[in-house]
Amino acid sequence: MRYSEQFMEHIEYAFAAFCKIVLRNAAISAYRDLGRKQKHEVSLDYLMSETSFEPFATDNYFEQYVYEKPTVFVVQGKEVVVTSKRLADALANLSEQRRTVLLMNFFLGYSERKIGNEYKRSRSAVNYWKLAALKQLRKELEKTKHEE
């Protein structure tokens, strides 16, 4: 499409004016939005000195140990802390081997094959111990279910 020289010159001017107006209007609305935001902004220092309550909280882990003694099982020279009394009792009722397998698998994160290497047994044997131990643990837990 051919344009006349005059038209092209006019478009240049019109475009320049258009861009300037766009920028000016965008700037005005940007100032307005920024000002509106700053009206609601409060300094954190001011907030800290003004609030009557604690503005933050720090979690204390293992705090409940002060009140009740946790049960500690020693497996492979590592201590496993069981906080829940009910679970600890149930675990104590299991046989030595079953408890060790459960603790190693779920608390220390050993794989079944690794546990098998410790006992010189196959992985599937460990898997069987684990399932049997879980079954017994469920029974033990169900015994104390109604006491809670």
Binding site: Q6, E9, I11, V22, A26, A30
Partner: protein
């Protein structure tokens, strides 16, 4: 005869068509103005600057040639706006 300070017509044509280099050229042409406008409390505010650039790009693509009509009467160009 043409004003050297203005963006050449060819660039405008390409920019409106959405060609990235041409749009970039337009943005570069207005860098100083954008910086001047985005000065807030004595400092250049990056948020405002980005917003202005985005707005300008959006507006460039909406620019239309056919809104404006030139009539030559006695050698003087008159601009008549057509409202669509």
């Amino acid at each position: 005869m043409r004003n050297k300070k203005l963006i050449p017509f060819e660039t405008i044509e390409k920019a409106v068509a959405g060609e990235p280099e041409a749009i970039d050229a337009v943005l570069r042409h207005y860098t100083a103005r954008i910086k001047y406008l985005s000065t807030y409390r004595g400092h250049i505010n990056d948020d405002i600057q980005d917003r202005l650039k985005a707005q300008l790009i959006k507006a460039i693509l909406q620019f239309r040639f056919d809104r404006y009509l030139i009539k030559s009467v006695f050698g003087i160009s008159l601009v008549v706006y057509i409202f669509i």
